[in-house]
Symmetry: C2
Subunit: 217 residues, 2 copies
DNA sequence: TGACATTAGTCACAGTGCGTGACTAATTCG
DNA sequence: CGAATTAGTCACGCACTGTGACTAATGTCA
């Protein structure tokens, strides 16, 4: 038997959080676990992952991507030998967890989960950070139009460190990923911010991808 | 059922080659395929991958690492719904393929293989290139001491493009990965080259990994 | 109303990185 | 000997990056 597990991530304030559900088995050593399902014969693993994510969340996440297969001997609630981990991103303002059986936990303050799933969470975080400057996945966590401060906050959340404003905008400009709209948002105190939309342009020259990696705060 | 497939890579002259075996089923549409085995209950997928690699090669490869799980509906010789792909690196001077049932094919000139395995090969090449500047996997393809020209050749092979000598050495120096021995190798014509060994030093400062990515030839 | 806090956005400098071509060095071959 | 071949270094110019300071536009509160 093979299980498909999903690491659902969403921003909560300034922290990145992961969705856990209460363990079905009340005698389980760890009382929380990642949402998972056994693979059905007629489904692909991608389908199963998407369905599992929808089931736990009550809505479709913005992105579902494979992380890796975990086939070591670490314990998994399904008892299966092999599990395939997927990572899913959910925009901010995530629906409230259904009942008391699912909850969001900050990634840097997790309760005990079964060891194989613990490895999956770590792998998912690594995968997000590695892919962040290859693919524009950060935009999946934002509404169609957004301020650059919002965008920077998402990057900081996913990378787990602060970025410098000027560097961030310079690199963003060089990557030709966004274009300004003519709308402005005044959000309480402070100067209003211009709204942008995601609009990737053909990159000229540069063999490199979009490297945000070096941005230190 | 779950299959474990291995993409064995080795340098052959100036080309990167992959090991294929003749299809067991003579009526199969594609006559060559990647080495694969069904997962046994008592083994981890890593164990199975290592064993499969040894079986096809007749020796242990220098590195075996997971690429990803492939669970789409593309055809696979095992008929399984899900396959986990591993990539394996074999140092140059690989043992001659056993009989006529296994052979090395240049990655840029492959015969037809089952479609899921074709995707695995592409994925393995992408994975090698992506990990090349994160982990020192190039050294696995070389003997304990080597010349910098040999090392550069490996990088060019794995990245699939030429690098500029001066840039390569500058970046290598900055990464503190090798140290010179006091031996020199005179290899036919031309000036003798100094031999180096792999000896990673603690990297000071620099939040970045070892970025060889930008080296253009 | 006016000082201040707060957030957005830009600029400019200095240091480092990187692509590139030209140069020197040591060997073999004829 | 001189040409060819491979190893190894240097230096220039441009681009990129980290950084702090600056201006701009709003709300808050005395």
């Amino acid at each position: 038997m093979l299980s498909v597990d999903v690491v659902l991530l969403t921003p909560h304030g300034r922290r990145l959080t992961v969705l856990l559900t209460r363990a079905a088995d009340p005698k389980a050593k760890e009382r929380w676990e990642l949402p998972w399902e056994p693979l059905r014969g007629e489904e692909t693993i991608e389908d199963t992952a998407a369905r599992t994510a929808r089931g736990a969340l009550g809505a479709a996440p913005a992105l579902v991507e494979q992380v890796a297969a975990f086939g070591d001997r670490r314990r998994h609630p399904s008892g299966s030998d092999v599990s395939v981990a997927f990572l899913a991103l959910v925009p901010a303002g995530a629906p409230a967890p259904v009942g008391g059986d699912t909850a969001w936990f900050p990634v840097d303050d997790l309760p005990a989960v079964p060891p194989r799933q613990r490895a999956m969470i770590d792998g998912a975080l690594q995968a997000v950070r590695a892919r962040l400057d290859q693919a524009p996945i950060a935009f999946r966590l934002l509404p169609p139009t957004f301020t650059l401060s919002q965008l920077q906050e998402i990057y900081e959340l996913l990378l787990g460190r602060r970025l410098h404003k000027a560097s961030f905008r310079r690199a963003l400009h060089a990557a030709w990923l966004v274009e300004p709209t003519d709308e402005w948002r005044s959000e309480g105190r402070g100067r209003p911010a211009q709204l942008f939309r995601y609009a990737p342009k053909k990159r000229r020259g540069s063999r490199r991808g979009v490297r945000f990696e070096g941005l230190a705060g």
